[in-house]
Amino acid sequence: MQWVFPIPMRMLRMHFMVHATVGLDIRYVFKIRANVQTYILRKDEPMKSVGTTTPAEMLDLREENQKSVQRVRRQSLKTALIFWSFVGPMIIGLTVFFYIPILWSLILSFADARATLTPAGWVGLGNYRAMLGDPEFIRALVTFTIFAAFIVPTTLLSALGLALLVNSVKFAQGFFRSVFFLPTACSYVLASIVWKMSIFNGSSFGLANTVRHTVGLDPISWISSPNPPWYWLVLVTVRLWLQLGIYMIIFIAGLQEIPRELYEAALVDGARRGWQTFRHITFPMLRNATIAVLLLNVIAAFQAFDEFFNIMSGGNQILARPPLVYLYNIALSDQNYGYGSAGAIILTVIIVIFTLIQGRFLGFGRSE
């Protein structure tokens, strides 16, 4: 049977090259499989005549076989070398500064490690059990799952809307783009101070309460009053202000990549401007940008930290405490690295699950 291989391998190689130029796409993988199968089926016939092959022919075939295997090996080795020359430096750095620490955390999550990064004893799943039985951690997880369900679509739609709006005008487009992107330049700490001190301060001054005062309304304790939960207004606005710019830019980049001819063709075909072109051209063409924004958003929602940490201080923390703030306290302040690592792993698993679910719906893994 061995001799059957050369040609499929060669075909594979050809497809490999197609692949390289076209990029990995599941359709091509299927195509390769289909081709290989047809070839094998086709080759069934010659197989019957194996007995008639002369020894010389056999030798020839074997030689060709070997050469081609070598060629394929050389080829894949070459591809590997090129791949690693592009990706290698990043992977080496990530190994030292991410993978080793992550692995370290994973090991610690099964250990008793307090005020030390050397496991002092193994506790099996004890840390995980304790963390999942901790009502405050569970509360943080539930709160931020709800938060993600709200903030992710809100951010996505706002950023897309902003990008479309900015992109729809010609005059001063650069100016508006800059204005909406500028908040990205502000640090979270500074933004938190401005929000807490100058905009949503709960005493009789600060911008929001000054405005309320001028229209004859009583001041509101925006941040500290549990009911109604105005603090979400504070937290959501500061987050949108800080983050919309980046996502808007990603969408604008995507928008400007769409060939104008597509719209012209659609209009010629009788499509209506507005919703129809958006639905059938703009949105599908923004797929990569949307996937990027969604993924980053989900991660950002579950890893929310800075503005919550800085705005919801002291006894207000419990009103809206992200899982990460809870874990930060355990790992850095309490130095309970084993327990904190278990929480981090749980959080990571949750983020991975949400990403996978999202990938299901959006075909994120299409490049497989």
Binding site: L24, I82, S85, V87, M90, F97, L165, T184, M197
Partner: protein, 293 residues
């Protein structure tokens, strides 16, 4: 969509815009101006507080415009011997420039490799990079610190710069971008006999100025605004970044808000200038890509 639609309106249809189109345009600008004012408001408050007297920042008789502007706050900040503000700006510049250059280079390479080189483990490598985005960094902070300290990098420039050079985030964005890069261009290069490296440097990079500029800005900002790592790694006031310097005004017993805000204003200026400057290149980058008119 509207942008392109309106553009095609202009090019494709000779008759003048209808009244409805004009109204729509005006409404768009009204909306843009309102949003722009809202987005600029916090910046106004930062500058306002920076130029106000200390008591007017937290005064019970808070006013939108401070009664007098105290430009001497700027002098005070630069003369404050306790806080090396200027050194902080210099340090932040060096660190942010190095980090941005390194990160963009390595991420673009990795992003291109992942998007275009058909290596059999390429997807697994991509997912491994994606995972680094999902790990809550606060929790691997201490192990990372310990590794860096055993490398002997505490209080060194490489300790401040190198760990920040490797970014799954930027790699991910580059990969997404390169997935959508027009293949015809690359194929043309390959027909001319270029290998992957040749295609990357001669064709892909020159046609990706837009994304490179955009991600450089994001990287630069992140590096400029980083706080916890520079605080923990930079163990001497001469190695403080500007964010660490600013945190001097925010400590326990005594708050120095006017210096904090004027310092913050000055610390944001370079970012604003860089963005306004690169803005041009982002736009140009798209023009250069040749396909997008």
């Amino acid at each position: 969509m509207a942008a392109i639609v309106s553009r095609s309106t202009q090019s494709g249809r000779p008759r003048g815009p209808s009244a409805w189109a004009i109204i729509r345009l005006v409404l768009r600008y009204v909306l843009l101006v309102i949003l722009a004012l809202l987005f600029l408001l916090p910046f106004y408050l930062i500058v306002r507080n920076g130029l106000a007297a200390e008591s007017e920042i937290t005064s019970p008789n808070w006013t939108f415009f401070p009664s007098t502007l105290h430009f001497e706050n700027i002098q005070e900040l630069f003369k404050d011997t306790e806080v090396p503000f200027l050194d902080g700006m210099v340090n932040s510049t060096i660190i942010a420039v190095l980090q941005t250059a390194g990160q963009i280079l390595l991420s673009a390479l990795a992003g291109y490799g992942l998007a275009r080189i058909a290596y059999r483990w390429s997807n697994q490598v991509f997912y491994a990079i994606l995972v680094t985005l999902m790990i809550p960094s606060a929790v691997i902070f201490v192990p990372t610190y310990v590794i860096v300290s055993y490398l002997g990098w505490v209080s060194t420039l490489q300790g401040l710069v190198v760990p920040g050079v490797f970014s799954g985030f930027t790699t991910f964005l580059f990969r997404q971008f390169f997935l959508g890069f027009p293949r015809e261009l690359e194929e043309a290069g390959r027909v001319d006999g270029l290998g992957y490296w040749g295609v990357f440097w001669r064709i892909v990079v020159p046609n990706s100025f837009g994304i490179i500029a955009a991600l450089s800005v994001i990287t630069f900002i992140a590096s400029w605004n980083a706080f916890l790592w520079p605080l923990v790694i930079g163990q001497d006031s001469s190695a403080w970044t500007v964010q660490v310097v600013l945190s001097n005004f925010l400590n326990a017993q005594v708050l120095n808000l006017h210096e904090l805000f004027i310092g913050a204003t000055i610390a944001i200026l370079p970012l604003v200038i860089i963005f306004l400057f690169l803005q041009r290149y982002i736009v140009e980058g798209y023009k250069q890509s040749g396909l997008k008119g």
